[in-house]
Subunit: 494 residues, 2 copies
């Protein structure tokens, strides 16, 4: 796959100098059109062999473009912040918002490639990681990101010559490290792994572009011109991902049974028993979250439910048991401007807890398949793909040691009505009831359907949904606390 | 993920009898609209636990639909025909053409699931297989296939009850086998593997639909109604996969260098040496293809090249060395009607050789990224995705033991002109030159570009392209023969 990149492509000085001014002007124009439209983000991946001019080419791009709107990021050893979260967290942090260009060195490909070269992982494990990368990149392109992947290549001989040349010049000697020579000695093995990776991650939407790294002018022009073409194509063709109607519909509802209707929503629990139980489970939770085992885990709680289902009250009974330095409650309402400029899950990734911490989501990423589906805020294609994306997200959390506990607080139609009315007359609760709440009530059946689909498609062995019978608030709160304790205990026992 | 399917859904007799006549009428209407439009094929996958009514439901579908246009296929142990080819070959054989409905029992999911349940493969190997399945299914949906995946579910208790009930009735006793009880004993393990598989292969385009298998009427109506919805949605919305402009363009050509231009096309080889070499390499090839090692391998040769590059002559020099019972030459021209009704690669899959056999393609699947790209016979999105699909196809061949040797016969512009002119005057070659050949000549630069991209994106370690300098026919033929011998030898040495 590297054939063309070993032909010794080059551009002579005169041709280069004739081309560059026009290219720069056009690139700047395109960059400002991008900024103004703010319609999509551009992610440029820079990978390849050492000494193939990756850094120099990116430097050039930054000279040609307006660097204020280019976010260049390199990823060395992960920080302690990063180590305590899923491996992809650091890359989510670095994604450029719509309107900007992000250049990512040593991105999500670096880890799997090195691990395989060093034989730390088997071929099948590499393929597993590549499949994850493909899913992640598919998500990016479906979110509208223009993804350009450049692989800088040198033949073995060229690499050696280039390393020697850099070493012989006092000005550049520092750039050649022992690691470079070590990688050079593994050239063949690295080449084979790279070929496998390039082949298995070149997709129609995000193919690898192999760059002959042997000539400075050639590789600079190539990357610049490719970026320009990609920007223009997208800006001018008013290109949009076609929101496609899913042809495989969800099954019809044939009978009255569903996961919610089979619940007995009003479960008995009197005040005295409640107080006893509350003390018991809060005490247990306090111990669990202060235990040694928890230092290497984290806790992600998701609370979903119809309006007035008692999410806030349950959350307060949980936080009462936690150390205030240990948790964060994240209420999810309309996204901020910054969040709207990013892929859908970005606003949740930013709150992923590090080890020893808890994050409690009052509503969550499930909004995509609940309110956004029912209200038509996103297309069917978007919420249909959200199920896989959400499962991938939670998988990543769990593999990084998080315990993910998800609650659906279920109340009856009548109970909601009663609570709405009570809110309207109680002065300190009046702000909690809006016209929107009344409107949502009318869509009860659609919400019910969406909830059942959500549970069916995202309740997994590792991150199951727990349905909470919530007409009796006391019962609901105890069941929430108990479930968290039990899931923490079972995670610690693993 | 099976929560909703354990609720004991059911439809009572009266409701069922009221629903069915209308459903049948509508299904038949939709089926005939599908047949008439012949716009797409429908593939229904039937999987799930034993005794959950898979067979009965399909039987019902065949009663409701016109069975002449439903292709129902079950896959037991592979035949010897099938064992000697890539595992996916048997499923390609069974794909329904456009206008028809294919029902596939025990399809491509069966092998990986059973292998994992029996612990014959590791988790990472399962994930590898699932990633392949995802790519395959993505190809199907991009080719326009409506893919419906039904998973028939029973809880452990339900399954036991059902097996016991079937066993107690003399009329159905034969249906319960020892394997059923064995699978039942593995219920939990099967359940966990199934959950993992369902979760990792539920995509927006082809989600799994979980069917509660406990009630005959319910599951029948569910499958029938889902099929009807899917057919109607696709037929009525005039749904088409949006041919999307790739935003990541191929890199621009900045200099004159490319893989073809660097070749010295006229290589010396005089007649005397040619005859000696020809004897030598044909003899060697004859021995190699009659060797014991070849009995467990197969040979796939691909010949591509501009018009009049000498493909036919080279092929004849190869076949001269082979046993006539051993090989097939497949000339690729316009697809037949049957072939046009299938996914693009189907016409090549049908010719995949079994062990000990050779198939020689005179032009091939690469037409997609050559003539179809240059002439605009398919969209950019289609030929861009073809690179991955072709690589996957060749991977499958190689993993099944095939040796894949691909030749690009390169001739110069002038040599082609000379050969065209010679053909026009020689009576027995006059049929070989058409107006189209002259027209193609005008697009030489576009073809050259397409050839270079093809080589860069599909020349892999396992299936590399060999460029043949072909201005001198004698040299070309010898290099072809030598390459085949060398690649066979290196494969036998593995």
């Amino acid at each position: 796959m590297f054939e063309s990149a070993e032909l010794g492509h080059r551009v002579d000085k005169a041709a280069y100098e004739a081309e560059v001014p026009e290219l720069r002007t056009q690139l700047l124009d395109a960059q400002f059109d991008l900024l103004e439209s703010a319609g999509f983000a551009v992610v440029i991946l820079v990978n390849g062999v050492d000494a193939a001019g990756k850094g120099e080419t990116v430097k050039l791009l930054n000279e040609w473009l307006d660097p204020r709107h280019v976010m260049t990021r390199a990823f060395d050893a992960p920080s302690s912040e990063e180590q305590e979260r899923p491996p992809m967290w650091r890359f989510w942090r670095a994604l450029p918002p719509k309107g900007k260009i992000g250049v990512l060195f040593g991105n999500w490909y670096e880890g799997p490639i090195n691990a395989r070269v060093e034989k730390d992982i088997k071929q099948s494990e590499l393929d597993q990681r590549l499949a994850e990368i493909n899913r992640f990149e598919q998500m990016l392109t479906r979110e509208g990101v223009v993804l350009l992947k450049f692989w800088f290549h040198l033949s073995c001989k060229q690499q050696k010559a280039r390393l020697e040349k850099l070493e012989s010049d006092p000005l550049t000697r520092w750039r050649v490290t022992r690691a470079d020579w070590r990688n050079y000695k593994q050239y063949d093995r690295r080449h084979d792994v790279a070929e496998h990776v390039v082949r298995h991650t070149s997709t129609a939407e995000a193919p690898w572009l192999i760059v002959d790294g042997s000539d400075e002018r050639y590789r600079g022009l190539l990357v610049g011109q490719t970026l320009l073409d990609a920007l223009r194509k997208r800006l001018d063709v008013a290109h949009k991902w076609q929101a496609r109607v899913s042809t495989a519909p969800l099954p019809p509802q044939l009978d009255e049974r569903n996961l919610l209707r089979q619940l007995v929503l009003d479960q008995p629990l009197d005040k005295k028993d409640y107080n006893k139980e509350l003390e018991r489970w809060q005490g247990r939770l306090a111990l669990l979250t202060r235990s040694k085992a928890f230092c290497e885990r984290s806790l992600v709680l998701v609370f979903e439910g119809m309006d007035a289902a008692g999410k806030g009250g349950s959350i307060r009974r949980v936080t009462a048991a936690l150390d205030t330095r240990q948790y964060q409650v994240v209420p999810i309402a309309a996204p901020t401007e910054e969040e709207r400029a990013q892929p859908y899950l970005w606003r949740f990734w930013r709150h992923v807890p590090r080890q020893g911490k808890a994050v409690i989501f009052d509503r969550s990423w499930y909004g995509r398949v609940l309110v956004e589906r029912v209200e038509g805020f996103c297309s069917e294609a978007d919420w249909m793909r959200a199920y896989e994306e959400i499962n991938d997200f939670e998988d990543a959390l769990i593999r990084a040691g998080a315990v993910v506990v998800k609650f659906w607080l279920a109340i009856s139609d009548e109970e909601q009505l009663a609570r709405f009315k009570a809110r309207e007359v109680e002065p300190h609760k009046r702000h909690k009831i809006t016209d929107e709440d009344w409107r949502n009530r009318e869509k009860w059946p659609q919400y019910e359907r969406a909830v059942c689909d959500m549970i069916d498609r995202t309740s997994t062995e590792a991150a199951p949904w727990t349905l909470i019978e919530a007409d009796n608030k006391r019962f609901a709160r105890i069941k929430v606390l108990r479930t968290i304790c039990e899931q923490l205990e079972s995670a610690f026992d693993e």
